[in-house]
Each structure stands twice: as C-alpha cells, then as structure tokens.
C-alpha cells in the first residue's frame, strides 16, 4: 500500500529549455531546474516550458516563464531574484495552463529596514567561498584559489549552509543572492 502511494508522483517531470544572456545565470538556472526534478533541454528541442532570463527569445511561441522581464503577454513573470521554490512553482503552474505573477514591490507594502540576523552574518572569507560556489567551482578548486586546505573549505561550506539555511550549493547561492538584494545598504 505504502509502495503504491510512494509511486504516485503527481509532480510531473517537465522539459525546460533555458534562455539566458549571462552564462553564469544560465548555469545557475540549469542547476535550479534539474534540482527541482525537471529535464533541461536545448532551446531547439521539444520543451514544455522556456525559462527566459533578462530577455525573451524573439518569436518564442511556447509557454515562457521569464525572470526580470515585465511583459503582460508572458504566461509567467517572476522578478530577477526569484528563489528556487518560486521558479519551480512557476514552471509547474504555467505548464498546467495557469498565469503566474509576483506581486510588485509596492504591493509588498511599506516596511521597516531589516536588520540582518547577527548569528547568520557571513565572514569575509565565507563570502569569498560563496563567490566561488556561485561560479560552480569544486571544493578542490576553491582550496587552490584561496590557498587554504580542502578541510578548511569544507568547514566554510558547512558554515555557509548553516548560516543561510541551505541544503545544497545551489540553494546557498540563491539564498545569499536574495539576502544581498534585501539587505544591501546604499550610502
């Protein structure tokens, strides 16, 4: 019985083609899509959804989930800084025929300045390790670049996961970039 229930997978595996101007964003979105359980396919291949970042492929007629583009004709429109769960939810919703929008900044309301959680502040070294993670570097490569031991890199990565509340490297990078957006102060 439990076996049958376990095999009932409602979350369909979708074919997602990615269009991104920036190769680093492309790589990041590719990871997000595969971690969400979908298949990344080429732009010319048959795809259920086109995930477009920054700009839309000209003449695209398939269902598009776009990041950082405001166009009323798009089926899915998310902000540039959308998180993994929002991207996954938008892909599934648009594939199911729904229209997805994120509330505009003013609809989020006029709020107070957020103080960073003191316990979760990264050290400058952790920020460097995070930058390397964002580039998709392995622990070994990070150790070489920062001239520290592999053991120390692992230690920093563990600490990053804990402070950011992330379970994977992709999630850590996504959460850190969300935090950067919310908590950067311009003086």
């Amino acid at each position: 019985m439990s076996n049958v229930a376990g095999n009932l997978v409602f979350a369909r595996r979708l074919r997602v083609a990615i269009h991104a101007d920036d190769p680093q964003r492309r790589a990041m979105l590719g990871k997000v899509v595969s971690e969400a359980g979908h298949a990344v396919v080429g732009l010319e291949d048959a795809a259920d959804i086109v995930l477009a970042d920054g700009s839309c492929p000209p003449g695209e007629t398939r269902n598009v989930v776009a990041l950082g583009i405001t166009d009323d004709r798009l089926r899915g429109a998310l902000p540039h800084e959308a998180g993994i769960s929002q991207i996954d939810a938008a892909i599934r919703a648009v594939a199911a025929g729904l229209i997805v929008r994120a509330p505009a900044a003013h609809e989020r309301g006029f709020g107070a300045m957020r103080e960073s959680d003191r316990q979760a502040l990264l050290t400058p070294r952790e920020a460097e390790v995070l930058g390397a993670l964002a580039e998709g570097m392995t622990n070994k490569a990070i150790a070489r670049r920062l001239d520290i031991s592999l053991h120390t890199v692992k230690f920093h990565v563990e600490s990053l996961f804990r402070k950011l509340g992330a379970r994977t490297r992709t999630e850590a990078v996504a959460k850190a970039s969300e935090r950067r957006r919310n908590e950067t102060i311009v003086l």
Partner: protein, 300 residues
C-alpha cells in the same frame, strides 16, 4: 438615564458628520484603467499621496471635493518616507488639519476618495502606537502606527482621524496588507522640502554595503562583532575619492558603530551634506581611519 438607542444614534450622527467634513480633504487621483488612489489635500494646491501607490506619471487627473476634475503635476517624491506631492493647476482648498497623536486602543477613522468627489470611510481602532522607526528605504518615520482597519487600494493615502477629529497622518499599506499610518509629523517635515526642491536631500558616500561578521582574529582590535563590508564603490564618488575600496569593512562613522544600520542611516540626513566623516575600517587585516566628505545623493 439616557436611552442606549439615543447613544447609538448620536455616535452614528457624529461619524456621519466626520465623513462629511473629511470629504473636503480627499481627492481621487486617477491611476488609469478606471482605478484611482486617494490624495490628501495638505495645503492650497498641494496634495499628498502614498509614494508607493502613485504611478510614475508626470501629470494626473484629480477628482476634487464636489466632483470637479482638475489636473495636477507630480511635484516631488520621497520613497524613504512614502510621501509624494502633487501640485494642482487650480486652487484646491481645505480647512487646515490639526495634528493628533495616536494612542493604542483609540478610535480611528480612515477616509478615502470615492472617485466622484465624495469620501468613503472606515472605522476601527489604533492597533499599535509605537516610537520612531526606519523604513527599508532609509527614511525616518516619526511613529509606528498600525490600524485595526481594512482598507481598499483606492483608499490608500487618505487621512486618518482620531475621535476628536485630529489627523494622525495618512494611511498606507505595510507588509502583508497591514494598514499603517505615515504620521502627521513625518508628512509635515517632508512636504516643505518636496515643495521647495521636489526631493529630500540626503547625504551620500557612493558605496553599497552589506553586513558581515568581523573575523575572529580581528574581533579584539575592531571591538565589535560586525561591520559593513563595501561591496562596490561609485566611481569618483566621495568614498572613492577618500580611497575606500571594495572589501573594506566599515566599523564606525564619526564614532558611531555601524553595528546597527539604522543608526547609520540617520547619520546621513540632509544636514550631513558637505560634512567630513571619519570612518574607521578594516583593510588588509588592520584597523585604519579614513576621512571622507559627504556629498549630496543624486536622484534615484
């Protein structure tokens, strides 16, 4: 003993009279697609609106008290306090507002524009009345006032009155649909600057900062657990001219620790422009002092 029914009728009569007088203080600001938001007639020809709700147009059509349509120009916006002003082409007058202080539990009446020259009203109580706070855009808001009132989007920006008819400020939406009040004192402080310059002058260093933990090895010499790391420096800005580079960790400004950002935001008001600021920062593992001249922030 007075009849309770009389008392109810009296209360109702007073509320209806308040609505009638509120009508002269609100205008509907047309926002396209048949929608509108509410403006508060602050002084002759000057209408205050909620900055976050006001479309980024240059010109607007307003429905003035009584139903006349007048045109108005956007004449200034300050996102940090959520105050925007419009100047009307023709005179739009309202009796002077009296400032009132919010008290938790006290009755509050929120007025909105109905779009046809009249007012719509909401009745509730002040849910919370607290001290000053800083908005996410760095503005100082004189009081924290949360209302136990539901508001329609078209009513955002209207005046909120207390039981005696004094004005607590203008309504707006906070996070999660919460209805908050931009206090009268904040509006009164910002409007003259917007009328004069179209903006609120702020001090500027030309840096983007993010809070970081001070590395253990430097905790003692830094004498604080966190600082603000410079993420980027605006070319030729005041910080760049002072030799500040990305990666520096700012510990204090003029002796005020940056351990809490709010304190730092209040350090860069309009009076800071032109002043020399002494920055203590960590660079290359050492604590050093750098002097920078605060400039005026360019329009966003």
């Amino acid at each position: 003993m007075s009849d309770p029914a009389d008392f109810l009728a009296q209360l109702s009569g007073v509320l209806a009279a308040r609505a009638a007088s509120a009508k002269d203080r609100v205008v509907a600001i047309r926002a396209g697609h048949g929608r509108h938001i509410t403006g508060l007639v602050w002084q002759d020809g000057v209408v205050v609106a909620s900055e976050q709700a006001l479309p980024r147009n240059e010109e607007f059509e307003l429905v003035a008290p009584g139903g006349a349509v007048v045109t108005a120009k956007a004449a200034g916006r300050d996102a940090s306090t959520n105050v925007a002003i419009l100047k009307t082409a023709e005179s739009v007058r309202a009796p002077a507002l009296t400032a009132a202080e919010a008290q938790a539990g006290a009755i509050a009446l929120a007025a909105g524009a109905d779009g046809a020259g009249g007012a719509s009203m909401r009745l509730g109580i002040v849910n919370l009345a607290g001290g000053e706070w800083h908005s996410s855009r760095g503005g100082l808001i004189d009081r924290r006032i949360i209302l136990d009132i539901r508001l329609a989007h078209r009513e955002e920006g209207g005046p909120v009155f207390d039981a005696a008819g004094g004005c607590l400020g203008a309504s707006t939406f906070g996070p999660r649909g919460q209805v908050i009040v931009i206090p009268f004192a904040t509006i009164a402080r910002v409007v003259p600057q917007l009328v004069k310059d179209g903006r609120v002058a702020r001090g500027w260093l030309g840096v983007a900062l993010q809070a970081v933990a001070v590395p253990d090895a430097l905790r003692e010499s830094a004498d604080q657990p966190s600082g603000l790391m410079v993420m980027s420096v605006v070319e030729n800005g005041p910080a760049a001219q002072a030799g500040i580079v990305a990666g520096d960790i700012i510990l204090s400004v003029d002796g005020t620790s940056v351990h809490r950002f709010r304190k730092i935001a209040s350090h860069f008001g309009s009076d800071s422009i032109g002043r020399k600021a002494e920055l203590r920062l960590i660079r290359g593992g050492a604590v050093i002092a750098v002097q920078a001249t605060i400039a005026e922030r360019q329009a966003a």
